[in-house]
């Protein structure tokens, strides 16, 4: 890992293979540009390039032990870096390519409205500070609103407590039988995660990409937000994605023919398509790992976050059998269950006392891209920070996202 400014200085491009040499020994590694890495320093990861790790681990990455000595087990000084001019494709689920100038500027400019933040001082002065930039025409719809007699589900994600650890991603993958597609498919941008952690960098305004050295990271867990006015539902020609009676935006796998129109029309791009039969060559034992409550999706079918509908139904049936209403907090989706900081709240929006309903009342509550009149059911609670100098930029300026963040071979 190398900061973009250092890379510019050395004339090294993102993904370029470089030769690191120290004490007469050298290794060749691809560079991953990451703002925030200290100037003129590099970070390399131990533990790769294994030879006896089985099918999954063998030959992945580069073994950097040749550089490590007893004299300098952790920090190595006087390393020389030489670009080779060859490059290596790092398979990452963020930023699949080094970005051009106009894309860089736009990404920075947008991040502030997508992932909202404010300093504590600004928030105390005006609790609605994070809504200061909500300007849009009146939101009216062509269609009649859905009506809900029983529950209608909603989610809230507190960006204040989210630490971006990706545990929700793994939990969701395990719960919902999400296929692991491998390096080639990730390079082709076909990862299947139903929830992901979107990451943006906040840099000083006015810098070009190559000048960025230091940056703060902002992130936002992103899954299907179950729009009340869902663009995907309208465009599916076979009505394979539908609104349920309790407000979920449901995928009917059996009905899906795979036009992928829903994915195109999804502003969050959270829908995932089975480009191949990802479950074709699985051992019997692997199949036994699958969650029996969740359908394994076939080739040619779209899939996405269901708000863990299998868990909702299980609790609902149990409550009905016991002739009692569902209790708030009883239903916990896999992501919320796993979240170490309890950043994700799930519950009934028709119940005024539920935790998720109460979080809607907070001034920090906002919905990403709400100006499109899609009325997301997942709201975010803006992140508040209390920087020592009290004057870090408030939202909507100076966010930057840069470089890739590949763990595979770095």
């Amino acid at each position: 890992m190398m900061s973009p400014a250092t890379a510019t200085e050395l004339g090294i491009a993102d993904g370029e293979l470089v030769e690191l040499e120290a004490g007469g020994r050298s290794v060749e590694l691809p560079v991953c540009l990451l703002p925030g890495q200290a100037r003129h320093s590099l970070a390399v990861a131990l533990g790769y390039g294994r030879t006896a790790a089985g099918q999954v681990g063998n030959g992945v990455g580069v073994d950097v032990y040749p550089l490590r000595t007893l004299a300098a087990p952790h920090i190595l000084r006087g390393v020389s870096v030489r670009g080779t001019g060859r490059s290596h494709a790092l398979a990452t689920t963020q930023d699949h390519f080094a970005i051009d100038t106009i894309g860089f500027a736009e990404r920075n400019a947008r991040a502030g409205t997508l992932v909202r933040e404010a300093t504590l001082d600004a928030y105390l002065a005006d609790p609605h500070v994070i809504h200061a930039h909500d300007h849009h025409p009146p939101l009216i719809s062509l269609w009649k609103d859905h009506e809900y007699e029983g529950e209608q589900w909603g989610m809230a994600v507190d960006l204040n407590t989210c630490i971006g650890c990706n545990a929700c991603v793994v939990a969701c993958q395990a719960e919902n039988n999400i296929p692991v597609v491998g390096r080639e498919q990730v390079l082709a941008q076909r990862e299947m995660h139903w929830i992901r952690v979107d990451r943006y960098f906040r840099t000083d305004p006015g810098l070009t990409m190559g000048e960025v050295e230091d940056a703060a990271v902002v992130f936002q867990p992103m899954a299907c937000v179950h729009c009340e006015n869902a663009p995907c539902e309208q465009v599916c020609p076979v009505a394979a994605t539908q609104h349920t009676r309790d407000g979920l935006n449901a995928m009917v796998y059996n009905r899906c023919v795979g036009t992928r129109y829903c994915s195109n029309n999804c502003p969050f791009k959270v829908r995932r398509f089975n480009f191949f039969n990802y479950h074709k060559e699985l051992a019997e034992t692997t199949m036994m790992q699958f969650n029996p409550e969740v359908t394994v999706r076939a080739r040619g079918v779209m899939e996405k976050c269901t708000f863990c509908v299998q868990r909702i139904e299980a609790k609902r049936i149990a409550a009905r059998n016991e002739r009692r209403p569902l209790r708030d907090g009883e239903i916990v989706p896999a992501c919320a269950q796993t979240c170490p900081t309890r950043a994700i709240t799930f519950g009934d929006l028709n119940d005024e006392g539920s935790a998720v309903s109460r979080s809607r009342e907070e001034p920090r509550s906002y919905a990403t891209l709400a100006e499109l009149n899609i009325r997301p059911r997942t709201h975010y609670l803006a992140r508040l920070s209390n920087p020592a100098d009290g004057g870090a930029p408030a939202h909507a300026e100076g966010h930057a996202d840069d470089g890739a963040h590949g763990k595979e071979s770095a």
Partner: protein
């Protein structure tokens, strides 16, 4: 047939601008018989020309490539294409819109120009209609194969079923099914019906039993009686009136696939007229691309005259300017709307990773047609031919820019991507040209490529100036005696 010597070909030039002289629609010393001989002669050649076999071998091989690619796709999955998550539609949809667009010229020439009494259409309408049908056949393949579970494609049709499930009538893809289906049906009927008198001519001239029965069956017992002609012309008029709104509707509905979505770069009200103008533009370009070599090879310059080519060049100039206007309007609105996503999409088109595609499109579609302002250049078949091919390239790129560049960078920057076609994508596209040319070559060999009966109706020998007699076809009044140049 021609009175001129071989060296003197000036009689072929009917592109004069003297308003007092009405240009002849058929030049040379032709009468009804010579027209029949010329057009039927192409089909009746006892030996197929070797050049035809060479071209047919190439195009049918490419057709096989197309079917092989489809087979591989269906057995393996959509993943064999370069699609990914932000860009879920790629070559298949680009090719679909491209072919549907090409399929516009035929019906425009046959229906709209018929109703507008543009008599010059008679020499090229059969040809253009044929091309329309073949283009629509190619177009029809792509939406079918681009879906993830091809074997369930029939779910897009409103067929009553045991699930009591209707398709979603709110989806533009469903409107597409209806629009393209109707268009294909009406175009096919129109093409076939207009061909019946000419098929009967081929039947009457048949020297072999197979030909006699084949053309006899196709000509549906046509005996050229007055009553037949009366009904034929009335039915033709009705079909033309029916087909006219379809010319406008089909590509409008195709544009709804994009315009009804919420993606920046797709969600614009300008799309229906913009797409229709573009479709006519590309359709005429394809007619010109095909007709210039065909008239040369089969010696049809006296029927498909220089003036026909010039008229088509003028239409391409006009429609090319319309798409140019649409491109600039899009940019203006992107800025004027104050919508940051929309503004970025257009900035990104012109200066982002797909700028190469955007500027290819602008060069081919806006800059190239400007040469048609020059009389000398537009009347040079070689220049016209090259320009028409460039326009086809440009129109393909227009669809590529619309579909791919808009999707590649939408709302959330973390989900931006860059789409690259795979070899399978490219071969499928090339293969569709194989199918198109295969059908076209079969058409040239076995069917009358010029509407003989209609051409005869606009020749001086039809004596349209004599009161009391109505020539068939689009007769619309008396023709001045000074017509004969």
């Amino acid at each position: 047939m021609s009175t001129s010597t071989a060296a003197d070909l000036s009689y072929l030039d009917n592109t004069g601008t003297d308003p007092a002289v009405r240009a002849r629609l058929v030049v040379g010393d032709n009468d009804f018989h010579s027209i029949t001989e010329k057009v039927c002669g192409i089909v009746e050649q006892p030996r197929t020309p070797p050049a035809w076999w060479v071209l047919f071998a190439i195009s049918s091989s490419l057709t096989l490539v197309l079917f092989a690619m489809i087979g591989y796709l269906v057995t393996t999955g959509i993943g064999v294409w370069g699609l990914q998550v932000p860009v879920s539609w790629g070559y298949a949809i680009v090719n679909f819109v491209f072919w549907v667009g090409i399929g516009h010229a035929g019906t425009l020439i046959s229906a709209i120009l018929f109703l507008l009494r543009q008599r010059w259409r008679t020499s090229i309408n059969r040809f253009a209609e044929g091309m329309t049908i073949f283009a629509v056949v190619c177009a029809g393949i792509f939406p079918g194969i681009h879906i993830g579970r091809v074997w369930l494609a029939y779910w897009l049709f409103p067929i009553p079923n045991q699930m009591l499930m209707w398709p979603n009538f709110r989806s533009p893809l469903l409107w597409d099914v209806f629009a393209v289906g109707t268009y294909a049906t009406v175009s096919l009927l129109f093409w076939y019906m207009g061909m019946i008198p000419d098929l009967a001519s081929l039947r009457d001239r048949a020297k072999t039993r197979i030909r006699y029965y084949a053309y006899g069956l196709l000509s549906l017992g046509w005996r050229s009686s007055n009553r037949h002609w009366h009904r034929f012309e009335f039915a033709y008029l009705l079909l033309a009136s029916l087909a006219t709104p379809l010319v406008l509707s089909v590509h409008s509905v195709v544009s709804f696939d994009f315009a009804v979505s919420i993606m920046p770069g797709w969600h614009t009200t300008i799309f229906p007229p913009y797409f229709v103008a573009g479709a006519i533009f590309s359709g005429f370009a394809m007619v010109v691309t095909l007709i210039i070599p065909t008239r040369k090879i089969f010696g049809l310059e006296e029927i498909i005259t220089a003036r026909h080519l010039e008229n088509m060049a003028k239409i391409m100039l006009a429609t090319g300017m319309m798409v140019g206007l649409a491109y600039s309007t899009e940019f203006f609105i992107a800025w004027y709307s104050g919508n940051r996503y929309e503004a970025f999409t257009f900035l990104n088109r012109a200066f982002g990773p797909y700028a190469w595609a955007y500027w290819t499109m602008v060069t081919c579609n806006v800059v190239v047609p400007q040469i048609f302002w020059s009389r000398r250049l537009r009347n040079n078949p070689a220049v016209l031919w090259v320009a028409s091919i460039l326009i086809n390239v440009g129109m393909w790129f227009e669809r590529f820019v619309i579909v791919v560049s808009s999707l590649s960078r939408d709302y959330l920057p973390t989900s931006w991507g860059y789409y690259r076609p795979t070899i399978i994508d490219v071969l499928t596209f090339v293969g569709s040209f194989g199918l198109f040319f295969t059908l076209f070559l079969l058409f040239v060999r076995f069917l009358p490529i010029i509407g003989m009966a209609e051409v005869k109706g606009v020749m001086p020998q039809a004596h349209l100036d004599r009161p009391g007699h109505r020539g068939h076809g689009d007769y619309h009044g008396d023709i001045a005696a000074s017509e004969v140049v």
